[in-house]
């Protein structure tokens, strides 16, 4: 059975080679190379990082300015032979508001190659899968944001695509809808599809997969597993903000703690600790606070987020690229393209200047 599935999905892949896309003077995607095989891939990146551009290129909506993208062995732009295997859930909240849910999905299923009757049956099934059975005869213009999102997902999966591209699919959805969507996505990946799931929220991806691509400023800055991203999050210099009654005394008491590499005082009520070991620092702050009877008002980490990690990785990769390819290689910076075949224990951060 497994053999058959493997055979069936052997031609299902997404491959990008030095993929570059610019809009006028703006470079949206730069020199991106990768190879994706069936399974769920989280596409992470801050807003404006190039995620939608990458998905649009894979979905055949845009043409590369340089380089090449292939889906199942062919270029996707306006190529019906490839498009029939792709399902796209676009980010934009754009539907035909005059149509009912069933009319919309049926029409799009027809355009995927089904007869009118089959298209309607499949549309009803797809809408049911996303919990829209009761609303399918209502016009989509009257749908809530979450329902509109689910209609977009239903139209994306109605033809059982081999490559499912989801651009921020959980936006505006409630917890119940999220569970339904994630379940559907997992099932399709289990059946041998590639699911590329873009988001800027790490926990959304963690609920689905452990394979992620990190894009920032148009560059693929890392490719690997979620735990590696977590490690990177922990590894890069953190800031811990402590608001208390005597911030300078607290900072003095913490100076000997391992990992803390700097202290700043943004105002009279807070100390900003720069640390390479956030966990130890949190523990030390608590210990010192108890021993010194400090009155702690808040303990926060302003940059324990993907956004901060992206900035860190981009700066690091830019720095590595500037020091030459040998330095980059020696620093564990790997090609994103080669990264697909590396083991999870290998570092998979990719520099802006890294070449396949």
């Amino acid at each position: 059975m497994k053999e058959r599935k493997k055979e069936k999905t052997s031609d299902v892949y997404v491959r990008a080679v030095r993929l570059t896309k610019w809009y006028g003077k703006v470079t949206a995607l730069s020199d991106l190379s990768l190879h994706l095989e069936p399974g769920i891939w989280g596409l992470l990146g801050p807003n404006g990082s190039g995620k939608t551009t990458f998905l649009s290129l894979v979905a055949g909506q845009l043409k590369p300015s340089l380089g090449e993208v292939q889906v199942c062995g062919e270029r996707p732009f306006a190529n019906p032979n490839v498009l029939r295997r792709i399902g796209l859930c676009p980010e934009a909240d754009a539907l035909y508001d005059e149509l009912t849910g069933i009319e919309l999905v049926t029409s799009l299923a027809e355009l995927s190659g089904y007869s009118r009757k089959d298209a309607r049956d499949r549309a009803a099934k797809a809408l049911d899968e996303f919990g829209l059975t009761d609303a399918m005869e209502r016009k989509t213009g009257g749908y809530s944001r979450g329902m509109r999102q689910r209609v977009k997902l239903a139209q994306a999966v109605v033809h059982d695509p081999d490559v499912l591209l989801l651009d921020e699919p959980l936006t505006g959805t409630d917890p119940t809808s999220r569970a339904v969507i994630l379940e559907s996505v997992k099932r399709r990946a289990d059946e041998g599809a590639i699911v590329l799931f873009s988001t800027h929220v790490l926990p959304e991806v963690e609920a689905l997969t452990d394979r992620v691509l990190l894009i920032a400023r148009g560059n693929l800055v890392a490719k690997g597993e979620v735990h590696e991203i977590r490690e990177l999050l922990e590894e890069h210099p953190h800031h811990v903000r402590v608001e208390c009654d005597r911030p300078r005394e607290l900072a003095a008491a913490l100076m000997g703690v391992a990992g803390i590499v700097g202290v700043f005082f943004p105002d009279d009520t807070a100390a900003l600790l720069q640390t390479r070991d956030p966990d130890s620092t949190y523990a030390a702050v608590c210990k010192v606070a108890v021993e010194g009877k400090f009155n702690i008002h808040s303990l926060t980490s302003p940059d324990a987020s993907l956004e901060a990690l992206f900035h860190y990785l981009v700066e690091r990769s830019a720095h590595m690229a500037g020091t030459g390819s040998d330095a980059a290689a020696g620093s564990g910076i790997a090609s994103p393209f080669a990264g697909a075949t590396k083991t999870s224990s290998q570092a998979k951060t990719a520099g802006a200047g890294a070449k396949p």
Binding site: L83, R84, P90, L95, Y96, E98, L99, S107, L111, A193
Partner: protein, 262 residues
């Protein structure tokens, strides 16, 4: 995974046309077009019966020429077709269609088919109603003059198809400015050139359609305008319609229509 084969060209055209028709049926454009047509009909019929000694044939001809060929025939195809591609691009719904394995040319033809059909559904019954209303008091003349009205309907239909293709083309080429560019083209090339002397008048398909309909030449320096036989005029109208349709399909086939954030 069991994705079916890409749909046949004609199947795609029918599916897009059906989708577009449902949207047009439920949208405001149809109501606007019908209202404009009713206003024109009301004005012509009122002038026929309230005017002093206005003959039904005169009222029909003048109403057709001024109300339809110089007003509605510009407005109606413009309403239904200038946004056919452009509005979808701006509303970002075009992605839903372009992500499907239907050929982009089929998307254009389907949209054009629906827009042109709706235009004809407004224009042709409008002309028939005008004829019947103007000849209502003279049934025998109504039948005698019906051949002429059919000829006018044929010419109006050809012109409607041509304007539909023109509006769809400009909408596909310049989606951000579809309305203004289409309106400029229709008003300058089609309306204004229909009054110019000499060969310039042949640039306007509106003039050619008027010749097919059998309307008298109007404007100045009429003696400088060469005659054009109806079959040639029909051929030119059909050829130009096909040309603009093909250009529209070509533009959509190669365009990226980027209205999204990086």
């Amino acid at each position: 995974m069991t994705a079916p084969d890409a749909p046949a060209f004609t199947t795609s055209i029918v599916a897009v046309a059906r989708l577009t028709s449902v949207r047009l049926m439920r949208g405001r454009k149809l109501r606007l077009a019908v209202t404009a047509t009713l206003l024109v009909l009301f004005a012509v019929v009122a002038s026929r019966y309230l005017g002093d000694g206005v003959q039904p044939a005169t009222a029909t001809r003048e109403g057709t020429e001024w109300g339809f060929f110089r007003l509605l025939i510009f407005l109606v195809p413009f309403l239904f077709n200038s946004g056919a591609i452009a509005e979808e691009v701006e509303a970002r719904t075009f992605t839903l269609l372009a992500a499907r394995p239907a050929s982009r040319a089929a998307i254009v033809f389907g949209k054009l088919l629906a827009g042109a059909a709706f235009s004809l559904l407004v224009i042709v019954p409008g002309l028939l109603i005008l004829h019947v209303a103007c000849f209502a008091t003279e049934p025998s003349a109504m039948f005698e003059e019906f051949g002429g009205t059919l000829r006018v309907i044929g010419a109006a239909s050809l012109l409607t198809l041509f304007y539909s293709a023109v509006c769809a083309f400009w909408g596909a080429l310049l989606p951000e400015a579809a309305g203004i560019v289409s309106a400029l083209y229709l008003s300058v090339v089609e309306f204004c050139f229909a009054w110019t002397p000499g060969f310039f008048r042949w640039v306007s398909m509106n003039y050619l359609a008027q010749q097919v309909a059998g309307f008298p030449k109007r404007g100045f320096l009429l003696e400088t305008i060469p005659d054009l036989s109806a079959p040639i005029a029909v051929g030119v109208l059909v050829g130009m319609t096909l040309l603009f349709t093909a250009l529209g399909a070509l533009v959509v086939g190669f365009s990226e229509y980027r209205f999204s954030n990086a």
